[in-house]
Amino acid sequence: MGFFEKIKNGLKKTRDELKTRIQWALKGTFDESVFLDIEEALILSDCGVETSSKLVQKLREKWKRGQLKDEKDVRLALCELVEEILKEVEKPISIDGVKPFTILTIGVNGVGKTTTAAKIAKTFIDNGKKVLFGACDTFRAAAIEQLSVWAERLGVDIVKHKEGSDPAAVAYDSLKAAQARDIDVVILDTAGRLHTKSNLMEEMKKIKRVVSKELSGAPHEILLVVDATNGQNAIQQVKTFHESLQVSGLAVAKLDGTAKAGFIIHVAEFFKIPIRYVGVGEKLDDLLPFSARDFAKALIEEE
């Protein structure tokens, strides 16, 4: 099942809403009010004021040039605009030629880092790769146990220390173990931290330093997980994490509800960080590679 099929039910509500609004607007005279309605729909999808008005401005220009005649045109044009922006960040992760490929998952509290780590592991296992978890969240109560349960279910190795120990030491041991055991992919699951806590960002930098010292080029992927239900603050998260850790990829979790994660349009435009995955459900298989077309389609257009 494709990404669009998976999320279209979740996105149905907005899509329908957007569609109805555009239809409704077009029933009257095709005038400026249509664009206000489109802007509203975009803002309601968490696209933000700036991005929304920019998109609408572009549509308006197309309309003035006589390129838009009916409802279908408007929807298609909007879809194309969004897809065009997102296309640039549609870059799947590639582990070719790197071993052990090291992924550091980071993000604020409760976005779904651990679940995403487990789902990512599953995609590699399905491709015959050997995966190892590093339980670097030594802070949150039972975070190590949580990852251990996943390790057991997936049948992958896990390196863990005691709660409260140094996460950088866990990362170091994980890499050592991976090299010794012929592991293909190491996934280091870190503790959630708000991007505004500078001491915790420093801790993260230390983990990164230790990892790169042990294995040159590592971490090969610094994967920031963002929560699709978040609003404009997600942009702030990307900005701050990127500034201090140079994020190389994004995963958008929890896209199976009614939230649209419209903020990724702004993120794609301004940070150009590849979006690797989207999380679309609670099951292990509910992680899909990001597709610009599907995302734009699901947001705006019907099938």
């Binding site: 309601l44 968490d46 109560a141 609003g231």
Partner: protein, 447 residues
Amino acid sequence: MISVMFERLQERFEEIFKKLKGQGKLTEDNIKDSLRDVRIALLEADVNYRVVKDFLERVKERAIGQGVLTSITPGQLFVKIVYDELRDLLGSSNVPLMLTGSPPHSIMLIGLQGSGKTTTAGKLAIFLRKKGKRPLLVSTDVRRPAAIEQLKKIAAQIDVPFYIPTDKDTPLSICSGSKEYAIRNYNDVLVVDTAGRLHVDEDLLNELIEQKGILSPSETLLVLDGMTGQDAVNIAKTFEERVGVTGFVLTKLDGDARGGAALSIKATVGKPIKFIGTGEKLDALEQFHPERIASRILGMGDVISLVEKAKEAIEEKKAKELEKKLLKDEFTLEDFREQLKQIKKLGSMESILGMIPGFSKFKTVIDFQEAEKEFKKMEAIINSMTKKERLYPQIIDGSRRQRIAKGSGTTVQDVNELLRKYSQLKKLVKKISKGQFKGFRPSIFMR
């Protein structure tokens, strides 16, 4: 960025008003641009689009026709109107937990995955214990790996009893089992942490309703991530309609999220926000104060103070009483001290004096820090007096002066100086009461 937003708002407004010099009123026309700025500020803070729309309508209604006072600028007045409306919408005060009926009471925590339910459960247990309750922590989250283990660990950390389920337990059997356990062990409040679930997951919503049926909780709190975007409205509405909630807990507000979701859910569902989570540590749970969130959403902390500070800090009644006393010539050192205290409550001298019409001119010539130090010293001196001395200053002789100086860590000269100021003020008061200062009312000075 936050204060920038506000500054822009105010600056812009001042600009518009410069053009409209001579107009002492807010009109639809002259607030148009400012309304647009407020709209952007609210949307950037993640307040729901439709909530913003309604909100701006109300602000418009409230603002149009308002006369501008001489003491504040039109920009300040407009900002105050926006802020007042926001605060009123968020609820006029904190609504406490309601534990009704006979114990054991239950508090259920529900919400999406990752909103912070488990951490909040631990924080609530501490809160309840501080209130003299004997909470029992319960987790019905059999879905997320190690979720029960997580709460168990938190319970051990804070030394609160935890109901340990077996592997065979279901969420429903945990509900009934924990209730019996609480009765046997004299725990009067169950704090029940449930599995995270999406508001579109019908099966899991039904399971929640069943749990609620067994627990018949006094409080069903929806725990919502403070960073939630436009969808907050859908989430809150669905949980309210399907499961029923008594209030909200807004979490992760220790970051830089503006917390617009607070306004969205309050406006849509109408239930109070009871707590906010402000950190990962287990004591980081605060009762909700609408004013604080209102400032946060608008991003204008300091500004409101200009208009609000005076009003909040000086209780009108005290000022009135003082005025009466002054006029009756009953102004004692005790009153003098009260006045100093009030001034201190207001914050910096500079800001209060700035609020007094016409005083801003002197801002540059007065050394405010020096003045504040002086005020502190004066208060210390009065504090070192006996009650009798404060009421009848004439009895303060040489040896009393020495004692007061010692007690307040000052010199006899300082004490003399204070007594001199006091008698000057008293004389001034007499003149006022005789009508020599036409139109001057001490309460004006106080405000």
